[in-house]
Symmetry: C2
Subunit: 253 residues, 2 copies
DNA sequence: AGGATGCCTTGATCCGGGTCAATTCGCACG
DNA sequence: CGTGCGAATTGACCCGGATCAAGGCATCCT
């Protein structure tokens, strides 16, 4: 069954929203929060972090945050909403690289080429913190915790990228995908067993290198096996243990 | 036909060897050379770079440079020889993550987890420069070029990792693999049309998420189509243009 | 309201590449 | 100098998931 309306698709983001923060208290759920805490909220460097960050948005579903080929000047932390990144080859085939939830960071893969190698597209109404990268790396030079944080984020993304590459069955991929999302929501303090899928079946399938029909079939089977409850894009994990087991080959630890 | 002997498998590495360098002139083909040059060879910082680097090796074919779970203390630049990195899941299935040629760097994916998430195994006799990572990041704080170089390497590896993930035919994968190797040899100043494959068909297949038999078949077909000449592990690219065309979806640019 | 559109689901069919198997070759080793 | 073992090649067969097709059900437009 198709999705039910959420809230009439209004300005306010339907998915979990990260703490907005104010001048002195920086977004609590942001990917940089740990770096900030390590640096110490009272340190003068924090003032600089405030300087190099800029709140942008809202972007509506389908709008681009950046496009392939745009010169790389900044990275973006998702403040609210969901984003997919994708490459489009010259035959027009789309390739979804990843989905990003509140608190996560996009644009890191543009450092090397110095131009964005992919598009970033909002899946629902989304807000961001924009970090000037030159300013950021200058700051990283002076605050080891910031530098380390950047290294860690890059290295982490490297780890997840290589997991997807393995040859795994459709069941493994879908189960791992659901558990991965659940874990990421949990880290940010949201429910790990009930959440909304902001992306279409087609996007999920593309990301997992499957056909949309296959994703649909697997989800239907998982439902009939009492592993999940799903109605449109509203999802509940009924048996996370079993799901983790199925997807274990694709999951960390 | 299987491989022909190269040089009797003796201490000296059979594959291209990077410039060994001495106290003041650091390995010319090393991945860090550009950072060094940017910093200036005469700068006192270079002395520190000399301090934090340590030449290790030789490792013989099959020996581990590091193992899954080892605490992360250093990254390694390949000085000579070839390395594969791989993960082994708990069912014992191997997953090849990448091959590394002289001048390239392994271990970056360990920064985040702080333990190596994979094994690194020498494919032939191999030598390395070992860079203490704490020292390296301390240096990165003081020399922007070093920091930027680390960022770039991480970001670059991120880009290549996501290419493999796409769903592509066996022909595309194999062609792209060969052209990628050719390009990487060319960058380091080696022949881009004739080179030795240090890895087995099985490793290639595993890396490309194919069966060894499929790789073998594709190579045979490429040979019958006059695209390559191959005997055992000695390879010559007869029609790089066509190969690039076949593999374009997986290749940069 | 009526029609168009996009997303999702489900069924039927097909094919690329995996799996199994046999053979050959080269090399290490007793 | 066999002998055994691993890597590579080639053939025969099969299966998971892609593709094609049809139908349902929302939302959006006019």
């Amino acid at each position: 069954m198709p999705s039910k309306p959420l809230a009439g698709r209004l300005p306010e983001p339907p998915s979990p929203i990260a703490d907005d923060g104010d001048e002195t208290r920086f977004c609590g759920t942001c990917a940089f929060s740990s770096a900030c805490i390590a640096a110490g909220y009272d340190k003068p460097e924090l003032a600089e972090l405030q300087c190099l960050v800029e709140h942008v948005g809202p972007f509506r579903a389908g709008e681009h945050i950046f496009r392939t080929g745009d010169p790389f000047r900044a990275i973006f932390a998702v403040r609210a909403g969901t984003v997919k990144t994708r490459m489009v080859d010259k035959e027009g085939r789309e390739q979804v690289l990843g989905f990003y939830l509140p608190g996560e960071v996009i644009g890191l893969n543009a450092i090397y080429p110095e131009h964005f190698p992919c598009d970033a597209v909002a899946l629902d109404t989304a807000y961001f913190c924009r970090f000037s990268f030159p300013a950021m790396s200058a700051l990283a030079s002076r605050i080891p915790a910031v530098q380390q944080h950047l290294f860690r984020m890059l290295s982490k993304e490297l780890g997840t990228a290589s997991l997807l590459a393995g040859d795994h069955s459709a069941d493994e991929r879908v189960a791992a995908f659901l558990m991965d999302l659940a874990g990421r929501y949990a880290v940010r303090g949201f429910s790990a067993t009930r959440f909304h899928l902001s992306m279409s079946r087609g996007d999920i399938a593309n990301y997992l290198r499957l056909a949309a029909e296959t994703v649909s079939r697997v989800l239907s089977r998982f439902r009939s096996q009492q592993l999940i409850e799903i109605e449109g894009r509203e999802l509940e994990l009924l048996n996370p243990k079993k799901l983790r087991e199925i997807g274990q080959a694709l999951l960390p630890e």
